[in-house]
C-alpha cells in the first residue's frame, strides 16, 4: 500500500501510523454533554466504500494526514494536511 503525502510525495505504507476515523478532528466544545464525547471517542461507522481517516507520516514529515480512500477498491482519492484542511 502506498499513500501520497502532500509534502513528501508517494510513500510506502511503512512510513505511516494509522490512527482512526476523521471523527477525531471534530472535538466537542468545552462543556458539551457526555453523550457528545461518547460519540466523539467511540462511535464509528464501518463503511464499505469511501471513508476518511487519519494517518501520521511518522517516518516522514510528522504531518497528520486526512486520507480519503475506498475500503473496497483500496483506491486513495485524496490526501490533505490536517493542519491545512479546508473544513
Amino acid at each position: 500500500m502506498r499513500l501520497t503525502c502532500p509534502l513528501c510525495g508517494e510513500r510506502d505504507r511503512r512510513e505511516f501510523y494509522y490512527y482512526g476515523a476523521e471523527d477525531y478532528l471534530h472535538r466537542p466544545s468545552e462543556g458539551a454533554p457526555l453523550a457528545e464525547w461518547d460519540n466523539y471517542l467511540h462511535l464509528r461507522d464501518n463503511p464499505a466504500g469511501v471513508t476518511k481517516d487519519l494517518w501520521y507520516h511518522e517516518a516522514g514529515c510528522s504531518q497528520w494526514l486526512l486520507v480519503t480512500r475506498n475500503t473496497v477498491t483500496h483506491e486513495s482519492s485524496a490526501v490533505e494536511l490536517v493542519a491545512e484542511r479546508k473544513a
Binding site: 509534502l7 513528501c8 510525495g9 510513500r11 510506502d12 511503512r14 512510513e15 511518522e58 517516518a59 516522514g60 514529515c61 510528522s62 504531518q63 494536511l81 493542519a83
Partner: protein, 181 residues
C-alpha cells in the same frame, strides 16, 4: 574545573567496500528553523543574510558551505553555519542530535536500495533532493549530494545501528559483485 572533551558518535570512522565508501561526516552546526504561522517574510529576511531562503519541500540548497535542508512543513535545518538572528521562527540547536553519514561511490544507490523504501532513481531523486524517510527502522533525513553520493542524517544514539546496517548492505552487495547473469 572539568575539561569536557567532545566526541562524535562514531569517531569519524570510514569504510570502503567495493565501489562504496561510508564515512561519518562532520557537518558543523545544525539548527532547526521552524516558521511561526504567517511569519514567513520575517524569516526570509533573516535567511537572506546568508543568501538562503526556506527550501521547497524535499529539497536542499547550498551556498558557500551553508546548507538549508527542508525537514518538514515550514521547517528546515540550517547546516554548516551558525544561525543568523531570525525573527518569526523557533530556532533550536540540533547539532548534537544527529550523526551524518556520507555514502558515496558507484554502488551507493544499490546500498540504499537495501535499506530505504524510496525511489532513488536520478529522475525521481535528483541532486539537491532532501527526503525524510527511513533507513531500515530508523527515521532519517536523506540528502542526494551527487549522482553517486548521499548524506544521511540519523539520530545520534542510533548511529551505531545505522552504521552496522549500511555496512551489512555494503557487504552483501560486495559479495554479489562478480556474479554475472
Amino acid at each position: 574545573m572539568p575539561e569536557l572533551i567532545a566526541k562524535s558518535a562514531l569517531d569519524g570512522r570510514s569504510l570502503t567496500l567495493g565501489h562504496v565508501t561510508l564515512t561519518e561526516a562532520e557537518p558543523g552546526p545544525i539548527t532547526s528553523v521552524a516558521v511561526y504561522p504567517g511569519q514567513g517574510k520575517a524569516v526570509a529576511k533573516g535567511l537572506k543574510t546568508l543568501g538562503l531562503a526556506m527550501p521547497a519541500p524535499n529539497s536542499f540548497v547550498e551556498k558557500k558551505g551553508a546548507r538549508i535542508v527542508w525537514t518538514g512543513r515550514e521547517q528546515a535545518f540550517l547546516i554548516g553555519v551558525a544561525p543568523p538572528v531570525l525573527e518569526g521562527a523557533a530556532v533550536t540547536d540540533q547539532s548534537d542530535g544527529w550523526t551524518v553519514l556520507a555514502l558515496s561511490g558507484a554502488g551507493a544507490v544499490d546500498v540504499l536500495a537495501r535499506l530505504v523504501p524510496l525511489d532513488l532513481r536520478l529522475t525521481a531523486c535528483p541532486v539537491g533532493t532532501a527526503l525524510r524517510s527511513q533507513v531500515n527502522h530508523m527515521n532519517a533525513v536523506i540528502l542526494r549530494t551527487g549522482d553517486h553520493a548521499f548524506e544521511i542524517l540519523v539520530f545520534r544514539s542510533m548511529a551505531r545501528t545505522a552504521w552496522h546496517e549500511i555496512e551489512a548492505a555494503m557487504q552483501m552487495l560486495a559479495a554479489r559483485m562478480g556474479m554475472k547473469f
